[in-house]
């Protein structure tokens, strides 16, 4: 079921290589304006403008982390209340069983712990990691994406993708160094 798009051969997409962050941002703007949506760019460090140019929306991560934190807060306070008041009530120096000020510290730590775990598991899940294999690594120069090169890849599953036309479009971009097909 990999053959999607219009008359596409069995490739992952077409990838262009750039030398500067400015060029790849410009390329992303143009490709997006042409109507391509299944596009990804690769850079050695985060470039905010690049994700804007590709039209990415706000990450859902902050909301997930908030929910994780609320879960931790309720769970750890609940655990303390249940164990100290219901399951194992102990009179310690005549203090009330429900000594809420003493429960604040573990509750705070539980909130932070669950929110942090959500942030880490969330970013991995949203990015689809761990991912043992990805076609872009078949491009010989792609190892430089973690050094000093910038790449833009239009994927074959894009409805507008056409092997020749898309390649020509990328070749015509300013500052492009090379355009290659990405094998599956």
């Amino acid at each position: 079921m990999r053959r999607r798009g219009t008359g596409t051969p069995d490739i992952h997409g077409v990838m262009a290589e750039f030398n500067t962050p400015h060029d790849v941002v410009e390329a992303a703007h143009r490709v997006h304006a042409q109507g391509y949506r299944k596009v990804d760019a690769y850079s050695p460090y985060p470039i905010e403008e690049l994700s804007h140019a590709l039209g990415f929306h706000h990450s859902p991560l902050p909301l997930l982390v908030l929910l994780g934190g609320i879960f931790g807060l309720v769970a750890v306070y609940g655990l303390q209340y249940w164990s100290a008041v219901i399951e194992y009530p102990m009179n310690i120096g005549g203090r009330p069983l429900h000594s809420w000020p003493a429960f604040v510290v573990p509750t705070f730590d539980g909130t932070i712990l669950f929110a942090s775990l959500t942030a880490v598991l969330g970013v991995l899940a949203l990015n689809g990691l761990p991912e043992p294999y990805h076609p872009v690594f078949n491009v010989p120069t792609f190892a430089l994406a973690s050094r000093d090169k910038f790449f833009l890849c239009i994927e074959a599953r894009d409805p507008k993708f056409d092997r020749d036309k898309t390649r020509d479009l990328l070749r015509a971009l300013p500052g492009v160094v090379d355009v290659v097909e990405v094998e599956h």
Binding site: T20, P21, V25, D40, A41, Y42, S43, P44, Y45, P46, I47, E49, L50, S51, F56, S59, L61, P62, V65, G69, L79, S83, A84, Y88, R95, S99, A102, V105, P106, F108, D109, G110, I112, L113, A115, S116, L117, A119, V120, G122, V123, L124, L126, N127, G128, L129, P130, E131, P132, Y133, H134, V136, F137, F142, A143, L144, A145, S146, R147, D148
Partner: protein
């Protein structure tokens, strides 16, 4: 003369720079990655690692003896039930704080100079927490039995921990701190692991770094979520780091012992933690930058900034000592007054005055710019502060305990050889882990260094 003016100006700008001029994306990547990937390990590394590893054996031996004979092999008894073990716990946990402060709080405050020191400062945090937890865990005597009164888990005895005890708060605070620090450190490492995967020559290392990178490919989609996660973790770690030493200080402040029962403890402990932590970062970074030739990345500006943070937190700590003494007099409480007189003139007075020398007087030399920018002096003063902070906990813990309310319960305290071997052993554990880290991991965050390059050198477009 004509030659002097421009060169002096250049030197001036270099001492202010966060990164030496002439670096590009490629040169930063190659320089930092090559430190982890180089085939030949320098002889000095083996020497340092060997010594640390030997010290680590002292820790293992001590713990084996302790488990066999009991906690009595440490010098703790009535009335001094908390000795080196708790001193070392507080000392190590405090040291860890600078790592989180640098990585989280300075990130939120947009302090770019954190970038070249955050990675190894975070590693330092993790290793310091690992050393710290050994002490309370083994102080319980039988750690496998302590599990049921430390952790809330359903056990066959139907018992639950007493959440009204600050000691349980400690368990939650420290275990959360250790976990979140590890997560933050690992998330920061993922893009750099991908860089090492792409640079590694041998198949085996490609697989090892590749597994650690989990398939990271630097995609815009990845970075988009990643930046969000990194900021969120920084935001979560910030209140956490403030809370951890606060909770540690509550172990004391919630007790009724004169010298412990004080409301100033939380802020004074947090400042002391950052103070000791920055001292440790300097102790580690000065030899590291020399041995690895990292002067381009860890510039004089970084060292000077750290010295300034140390000076500022040192002054807060000095204020704490002053307030402790003032309140002992002003409260009019005879026990408080006796406690302070005993600290200043009792059997352990020498430690109190050494503490004042190390923590209050010595750091004031950092007001002088020539000393602040002298690496040898900074290294020495960081060691002095490290010793001073250890003495502070000695003065707070055993010196407060050894004179109980009733003179018939008075006692004295000294660490035994097992106290010393456990303490030196954790230094061995810390250094062993640190030597492994600087050999196989990128000691500076490569991807964050790329972002501070000026645009002309391939840095981020500034809009």
């Amino acid at each position: 003369m004509a030659e002097h003016a421009p060169s002096a100006k250049r030197i001036q700008s270099e001492t202010d720079a966060l990164i030496a001029p002439g670096h590009t994306l490629a040169s930063i990547t190659e320089k930092i990655a090559s430190l982890a990937l180089k085939r030949r390990t320098p002889l000095g590394w083996f020497v340092g690692f060997g010594i640390s590893f030997l010290l680590l054996q002292a820790l293992l031996y001590t713990l084996a003896v302790l488990l066999f004979k009991g906690v009595g092999v440490w010098g703790i008894n009535v009335p001094v039930g908390w000795g080196f073990d708790i001193i070392n716990l507080v000392w190590w946990i405090g040291i860890g704080h600078a790592g989180t402060l640098i990585s989280a709080i300075l990130l939120l405050l947009r302090q770019d100079w954190r970038t070249s020191i955050n990675r190894f400062a975070e590693a330092m945090t993790l290793f310091a927490v690992a050393c710290a937890v050994i002490f309370p865990v083994f102080h319980t005597g039988r750690p496998w039995l302590a599990a049921y009164w430390l952790f809330p888990y359903p056990n066959t005895m139907g018992l639950w921990p007493n959440f009204r005890s600050p000691l349980i708060w400690d368990v939650f605070a420290i275990s959360t701190y250790g976990t979140v620090s590890a997560l933050f450190w690992y998330v920061g490492l993922i893009p750099d692991m991908a860089t090492l995967r792409d640079r590694a020559k041998s198949k085996a290392w490609k697989i090892v770094y590749g597994m650690a990178a989990m398939g990271w490919r630097g995609s815009a989609r990845h970075w988009h979520n990643y930046e969000s996660a990194y900021l969120l973790l920084a935001g979560l770690a910030t209140p956490l780091v403030i809370s951890v030493h606060t909770v540690v200080s509550l172990d004391f402040a919630a007790g009724v012992i004169p010298g412990w029962h004080a409301t100033i403890f939380p802020p004074y402990f947090v400042a002391g933690a950052i103070y000791a932590g920055f001292a440790m970062v300097l102790t580690l970074s000065i030899p590291l930058r020399k041995a690895y030739g990292l002067e381009d990345f860890i510039t004089m500006k970084h060292l000077e900034n750290m010295a300034k943070v140390m000076l500022a937190t040192g002054l807060i700590v000095a204020y704490g000592y002053t307030m402790e003494a003032f309140m002992a007099w002003y409260s009019g409480n005879p026990y408080e007054k006796f406690m302070m007189a005993n600290r200043m003139g009792g059997p352990y007075a020498v430690f109190y005055w050494l503490l004042i020398l190390c923590n209050v007087l010595a750091p004031n030399l950092l007001w002088i710019k020539n000393l602040r920018t002298n690496t040898t002096f900074l290294f020495l003063i960081s060691l002095v502060v490290g010793v001073g902070m250890w003495l502070e906990r000695f003065v707070i813990i055993p010196v407060s305990l050894h004179r109980d309310f009733l003179p018939s319960s008075w006692g004295s305290y000294a660490g035994t050889r097992y106290d010393w071997s456990a303490f030196l052993g954790t230094i061995g554990l810390f250094l062993t882990l640190f030597f492994l880290f600087i050999r196989f991991m990128p000691v500076i965050s490569i991807f964050e260094m790329r972002t501070i390059l000026p645009e002309g050198e391939g840095g981020e477009p500034k809009s």
